[in-house]
Amino acid sequence: MKSIEDIVAGHRVVICAGSGGVGKTTTAAALALHGAQSGRRTIVLTIDPAKRLADALGVKNIGNQECEVKIGKRGSLAAMMLDQKGAWDRLVERYAPSADARARILNNRFYQHLSQSFAGSQEYMAVQQLAELHGGGRYDLIVVDTPPTRHALDFLEAPQRLSDFLSRDVIRWFLKPYFSAGWSTLRLVNRTVGVLFRKLEEATGVSALVEVSDFFNSMSTLFDGFEERVKRVYQLLRSSETAFLIVASPDEQVLTEAEYFCRQVKDLGVKLRGVVFNRVQSESEIEGEPFDEGWLAGVVGKAIDSPERRTALVQNFLRYETQARGDDVRIEAFRQQLPRGTAIAVVPNFEEDLHDLEGLRRMLPHLLAA
């Protein structure tokens, strides 16, 4: 049975996927720290770290800069924080063929209002950045934290969707002269499409259609080669160099989502290598006969005189035990439906948020254990 440690050791790219709020960022940082400590030149691509973790990693929210992290004598760790805000603006700035084209897009009203919610731009930026780091060859290990999405799959699907949206077919459709000329010209060409366009024009206003057309017109120059880039990144994500890990918590909802991800990854041609459960409450290790409340109260009574405080302590213990039984059942059920050979790590519920290098080191033994 492989451990998460084996998985990390055997791959150049490790991607931590999973729904939000399960400790993805922390897990990615801890795995990168481990990679660096074992002598590999390592970088972690992080999305939205807690302030203390960002401080610990020394990353700043300006552009996408590689920052060196001091981790002691041995190993080299770098961190890069993907700036989520304005991801699309940066794509435009980066790939616009001329200053004129850039300005035309950035000033397009349609673009301005909708660019905030463009599907997939963050995910696209993340995979694009990954591809560049990978191509640069300066790192032996790249650990990637994925953007917080409802569905873990968005990270895989969004770049493709973006590519579809800007595909030549779609753009060509919007570039047809009748689109901006208005529906009356079109009616002569095709009656069905003519009716559709009249509806569309009523719905959106003529000027909007002209702007939409202009938007696609500008975009078409910008995204020459876009499909090619997405294709290359896709090959990297599916190559044997890349390992996908799911990060989850033993929460019912999180596990339902993770199960869905496991079912879907296969269709996307990606193999799931490991699962990390964070914040797991484990059952107590009181050996022998099942214990009862009375016995426990008696034992605690040897240290605590006050009956109220004694009861409070025992009740607290039992509440955590209940939680632990539930966590155990859920994790076991989840484990059952994983493909054979999937590495699993169970990280306990610590009494603090782990947000610094010390915390990451505390987490590591559990993360790496077989």
Binding site: H113, P148, Q253, E352
Partner: protein, 327 residues
């Protein structure tokens, strides 16, 4: 503000970072509203159909409405289906419609068009808020609750109508978007509620969401639900006494028991302290009435727990009201 004030509105939006228990709080709100005599529609948006499980019924198909509990109706809303429904309303020619739906360009465009899914979803919710019974002319729902999905930008759904209104300077989309904006910014009809846990990252996001809601979006806010709050602290002296007893214990079983009782008491005390600190930050930075929902230790989270939370919510809501009256 009281919970009853909340239930006098037409639309309650529930937002928050992923994994903080938004769906649980939405379900509990729906149960509590029904107890106040309201006929409630709970809309789960782009969800993993978690609400159905929490309300104890099998999953609901997209577009289907099911009465999950007495007077609590559940509907799964999804952007693509909502768009298809909308197009059927504005393009009544069936042959034309199927040409549109089957075209590859439509498929691509719907999947990726900026904000279209969000716009259609919120449009559908607006439609349900306004919907009347065809025979009697009466409103179909007293109250609609929107369990908004958690994404990178949690407020994307609420932002879309205004963006669409401004992007399309005239025409049908402009007019319809304006109507949705009117609903969302009318404090007599709509309140946006926040859900968070008292931990660093969710609190950061809540603070930023509150700033956006009250700033650029100008949306009226309701309650801030602080979920999964740990509320027990143990005295350091007692913890030390347990440690000492564990060290002395001869019997291995008793030794383990004592140290585990101490460990879990420390865990609970730490989480209580961590929650308290983050709660203070929320108090300082978010000007919304707050309702604490304690952490529930359970083996399985289901309808029983949701009912328990609805009950706690009702009590806390009433207590908030009493405090206000006295003040």
């Amino acid at each position: 503000m009281t919970l009853s004030d909340l239930f006098e509105r037409r639309l309650l939006v529930v937002v928050g970072k992923g994994g903080v228990g938004k769906t649980t709080i939405s379900c509990a709100l729906a149960l509590e509203a029904a107890r106040h005599g309201k006929r409630v529609l709970l809309c789960e948006v782009d969800g993993v159909a978690r609400a159905a499980q929490l309300l104890g019924i099998p999953a609901v198909e997209i577009g289907e409405v099911k009465e999950a509990r007495p007077n609590v109706f559940l509907m799964a809303v999804e952007g693509k289906a909502a768009l298809a429904e909308y197009l059927q309303l504005i393009i009544p020619v069936r042959r034309l419609l199927s040409t549109v739906f089957n075209s590859r360009i439509y498929q691509y465009f719907v999947a990726a068009a900026p904000g279209l899914k969000e716009l259609m979803t919120i449009g559908k919710i607006w439609y349900e808020v306004e919907r009347t019974n065809e025979d009697t002319g009466q409103r179909l729902w007293d109250l609609v609750i929107m369990d908004a999905p958690a994404t990178g930008h949690s407020l994307q759904y609420l932002r879309m109508p205004a963006a669409a209104r401004d992007a399309f300077g005239s025409g049908l989309v402009h007019r319809e978007a304006q109507r949705v904006v009117d609903l969302l910014t009318d404090s007599q009809r709509t309140l946006v509620n926040l859900v968070t846990t008292a931990e660093e990252m969710p609190v950061n996001e809540t603070v930023s969401m509150y700033a956006q809601l009250s700033g650029e979006l100008k949306m009226p806010t309701g309650f801030l639900f602080l979920n999964r709050v740990h509320q027990t602290s143990f005295a350091n002296g007692d913890l030390k006494a347990l440690d000492a007893a564990a060290a002395k214990a001869r019997n291995g079983r008793e030794k383990t028991a004592l140290s585990e009782v101490a460990a879990r008491a420390r865990l609970e005390t730490s989480w209580t302290e961590l929650n308290r600190r983050n709660r203070q930050r929320l108090r300082a930075e978010v000007e919304m009435p707050m309702i604490d929902i304690p952490y529930l230790f359970t083996e399985e989270f289901g309808l029983g727990e949701v009912k328990q939370i609805a009950h706690l919510m009702g009590e806390a809501g009433a207590a908030t009201a009493r405090k206000r009256e006295r003040a």
